[in-house]
Symmetry: C2
């Protein structure tokens, strides 16, 4: 395979590099032999052939400079990784298998014409491609544009993920019942704690090895867990924790028409969050968001394994019958006291946020 | 159906309007009963069920303020219409039938909090919804975000279209052979001519009735023509004229490994372009772009109807064997002289353009 980003990063003067060159480079670099992609980059549409007996799942996620990442704090490999991870995590939440990704990307012109810009672009695609290869996801198309705004032009990306799941088997938010047990994968609060550390440093984090634990910079979408839950019929409802446990749990409760009780002592707090004081650790765990772990419900009669696809599962609470006038979500403290748990994740148009909600 | 945009446009003080409210409004306003959409807005992914025996076609198109439209010249209804039309036209070019659209939309916060912004947002969705209803395309999901950049924040949209076509029947760019005749639908140059008029006025065009001929503001994606070409097996190659005849023809020639001869006198010039001087009219027709007509090839033995799905078809030239050292495209003038035709459409990262290329 040609390493097409070599051309982007070379320092000596190079011939004018236009959009068609970029597309051709992407096409070559993401060349795929996936049997489900009958036609990839280069025509008006891509042609996909989903497995027989399957439904098609679709999700789109924006990644915008100044809102979802900052060039002065995030290495470009992290931006590319997180861009794809957001979409893959949505597929994981439904128990789906990825078929292909599509990337709409607008870049300031300097990202192709200047040496530093080319290095950024190369790093972005490097991060995106590494995660795509890990999960065998071909990049089958998209759109490119110069981003508008002149000197204040920003990097703008929208990732589209197409996946498949056997007919009627995809995990939804709406299937849980009172009495179901609530579980999460992995540990919570790590992404918020790592982000806080990154921003307090006020310089770009140089370490961008994905083989270390970087819950904010290189979150791991839980595709294998989601597929196992779907295949084994273990979960009645599932979603990913992108906006924070409290906000995403409220989505599950509303969609399923139930209320929830969370046991504070049961929450699996990430070691990064444990380094904070107790209040900040709890805040990160309940409301931090962007952990991209899965939150799911299962009948209490199901004997849930302690790990699934190598990822720890933790029971954090129980779903209850929803009663008018009562709290949708309740937090049970170690001392037995009960407090109402309110959604604490960000909402985009009402607060100076750094995340986004799914439509 | 609830008219949810009434809330957006009301002038008296209203309760804080957040992103979740916007999503709920979109969900209600674009409520659909499409049998192919098993699950729409409101979960991590949408679930689609394509028709049996079909492949799935996917295309994404950016629509960025300051690049694809200007708020001071384009009415919001036109922006919403064109946003969706770009994606539908890609499906038309492949002979596909739309299943669903997905919209990723980033808006400056003032588009929800200020009266003028709400009116713009309402107009945008009005234009998008009118075209969606015309072609029975449900809006099945997407993403929303506040757009970054503070006071210089821009309106950013990415539309995703999912369609279907019977296995192996989608029209590609690559199937044409030497000897095939070249056709276009409708008339060319109208979009460029209308845009030039709009920009010369230096104020926003108020007329936004889609039932009049506005090739730039309200282009008509040729879905019925594309489907008929596919169903009747008339075309060997097809694409839409989004970047200009010369540029899109060069894509067809390269993908099919042929060269092309265009007869200048045969070109169907739009009445708007005919009002320009002869040189400008030819420029708009050959290079103008954004007409969203279809360019297709068919064996010369095929007796092509003069209209298809009510749209005129015009033979504009012939494909030839490609020879090294010879022109890829040739223009035959009325006086019999031959000149090389070079791609004259915009390329995004090399010129101050107002269009974008597909990846």
């Amino acid at each position: 395979m040609l390493n097409v980003y070599a051309a982007i990063s070379m320092k000596k003067p190079s011939p004018p590099f236009g959009e068609l060159d970029l597309i051709e480079q992407i096409r070559q670099d993401f060349a795929t032999s996936s049997s489900a992609v009958k036609l990839g980059i280069g025509d008006d549409c891509a042609i996909l052939r989903p497995p027989p007996g399957c439904e098609v799942l679709v999700t789109t996620d924006l990644t915008l400079e100044g809102r979802h990442f900052r060039c002065d704090s995030h290495p470009p490999e992290s931006v590319g990784h997180r861009c794809l991870a957001r979409g893959l995590s949505d597929l994981a939440a439904m128990g789906a298998t990825p078929i292909a990704a599509f990337l709409s990307l607008a870049l300031p012109s300097t990202m192709l014409t200047k040496s530093a810009g080319r290095a950024w672009t190369k790093g972005f695609f490097h991060g995106l491609r590494a995660l795509a290869e890990l999960h065998s996801v071909p990049l089958a198309g998209g759109d490119t544009s110069e981003s508008p705004g002149g000197r204040s032009a920003l990097i703008l990306a929208d990732i589209v993920l197409i996946g498949s799941a056997p007919k009627g088997r995809a995990l939804r938010r709406s299937g849980a019942s009172p009495g179901d047990a609530l579980y999460v994968t992995g540990q919570l609060g790590g992404a918020a704690a790592e982000l806080a550390t990154m921003l307090s440093r006020r310089r770009r984090t140089l370490n961008h090895q994905t083989n270390e634990d970087h819950p904010h910079m290189f979150p791991e979408p839980r595709l294998d867990v989601g597929e196992a839950l779907q295949r084994r019929g273990l979960a009645t409802a599932c979603l990913d924790i992108s906006d924070g446990l409290s906000t995403d749990l409220s989505h599950l409760c509303r969609a399923s028409g139930v209320s929830a009780e969370i046991e504070q002592e049961a929450l699996p707090i990430h070691p990064f969050a444990r380094k904070l004081n107790a209040a900040a650790a709890l805040q990160a765990t309940l409301h931090g968001g962007e952990d991209y772990e899965l939150l799911f419900a299962a009948p209490s009669s199901v004997k849930m394994p302690s790990t699934l696809a190598g990822v720890p599962l933790t029971r954090i609470g129980t779903l209850k019958t929803r009663r008018t006038g009562h709290a949708l979500m309740t937090l049970l403290a170690p001392d037995g006291s009960r407090t109402e748990l309110k959604p604490g994740g960000w909402e985009h148009f009402s607060k100076p946020a750094s995340k986004s909600k799914k439509a």
